[in-house]
Structures are given as C-alpha cells and as structure tokens.
C-alpha cells in the first residue's frame, strides 16, 4: 500500500552540485509534505516541509517544489556538501497519519 513513491533510490553528486530528489503521492487528502534527513544510527530529522497552498518553499540551500495538479513534489539541495551525505525521505501526511517514501541515499563526493 505504497502511497508515496520516491526516486531515485541512490544519488551521487559532486561537491557544489545540485541534488534533486522526487516524490509522487496518490491520496489527494494529504495536506502536509515534509522531508526528513537520516544519518546512520540516527532517527529521521525534519529538514523542510510544505503545505499544498504554496508551490515552493526555500530554507537556506534546501528548496521544496510542489506541483499539486501532478501530485508531485521534489527536494533540491543547492551547493551540495559532503556533510549532506545521508538518506532522505519524503513523506505525506493527513491528520495523524504519515506515509513515507522508500528513501534516497545521497552521496556527495568532495
């Protein structure tokens, strides 16, 4: 019952490059779309989130682009750094239910 599809599974980017991760959802009732960052041995931590009433949200080097009609959203990491190397999860939520994508393992090479 995967309701959030995430791609790619893994991504390798050079330092200074742009990392792009994409997600698609099925349930139009979802009204909150967060991105989480997870380092090995740690739990996921909220990175940035968006609601469907806006098409883009930027926080520092991280930007979410949201396309409500296509039911897609993406995370852009500008000027990617080796410290950004982690697994990234998109999620979609309504009320007290949150569904996660399968994750993208990002490696930023120095």
């Amino acid at each position: 019952q995967q309701q959030v599809k995430q791609s790619p599974q893994s991504l390798i980017v050079q330092k200074g490059g742009i990392s792009i991760i994409n997600c698609a959802y099925e349930n139009t009732a979802f009204d909150y779309f967060p991105w989480y960052q997870q380092f090995p041995g740690k739990g996921p931590a909220l990175l940035i989130a968006i609601r469907p009433d806006v098409s883009e949200k930027k926080e520092g080097r991280f930007t979410i682009s949201f396309n409500k009609s296509a039911k897609q959203f993406s995370l852009h990491i500008m000027d990617s750094q080796p410290g950004d190397s982690a697994t990234y999860f998109c999620a979609a939520s309504k009320s007290n239910d949150m569904r996660f994508g399968a994750g993208t393992r990002l490696t930023v090479k120095p």
């Binding site: 959030v4 999620a91 994750g103």
Partner: protein, 115 residues
C-alpha cells in the same frame, strides 16, 4: 532536553518470542507514534498514542500492541515474533496528534533482530 529516547538500542530475539520496546518522548510532548523501518525502506506507521489510548493504527497485525503511561512514555509490544519483524523500530513524539501542524521528533530507534 534529552529529546526522544528509546531503549534498548539493540535486541536479539528468536522466532515465537515476545519483545517490549520503550520510548520516552521529548519534554513537553504528549503524543507518541511508533514506526517500523525495514532495512533500506522508509518508516511505516504502526500506531499513535495520545491520552493513553491508541488513536490511529497502520496496517499491522494484532501481534503489535502498545501502551502509553500517564507520564506520556510508551511501550511497543510484539508477540509471536517472526523473522520479518527484524527492523529498526522508531518512536516519534509530538505535541498533539495532528502531524500536519505539530512536528514529530524521532528517537534513534531500537534495532530488533529475530533469529
């Protein structure tokens, strides 16, 4: 503030056994959600507890049960363990049940291995 804490860190059990995992929420939080994260996968929602009651449940069998105590801490119990229950079990806490408006903070997880 210690954030969300979970115990134990690692656990090894055999098929058919029962296990109890524990979670203490972040200070000020009253809601606890449990997730199962299989290797290489995203977290899957098991259930959420608020005011000592199960408020929402994901697609998990009755072998998975939980409890929330008056101090908001929580336990996850899994009976009749199967090999497929091997995973990282994550606890997340929030202030209030509406995840749309209340950020979840995750603990580091308990790694359960079933042999």
């Amino acid at each position: 503030d210690a954030g969300v804490t979970q115990s134990p860190t690692h656990l090894i059990k055999t098929r058919g056994q029962q296990v109890t995992l524990r979670c203490s929420p972040k200070s000020g939080h009253d809601t606890v959600s449990w997730y199962q994260q299989a290797l290489g996968q995203g977290p899957q929602f098991i259930f959420q507890y608020y005011e000592e009651e199960e408020r929402q449940r994901g697609n998990f069998p009755d072998r998975f049960s939980g409890h929330q105590f008056p101090n908001y801490s929580s336990e996850l119990n899994v009976n009749a363990l199967l090999l497929g229950d091997s995973a990282l079990y994550l606890c997340a806490s929030s202030y209030g049940t509406a995840l749309t408006y209340n950020e979840q903070f995750f603990g580091p997880g308990t790694r359960l291995t079933v042999l």
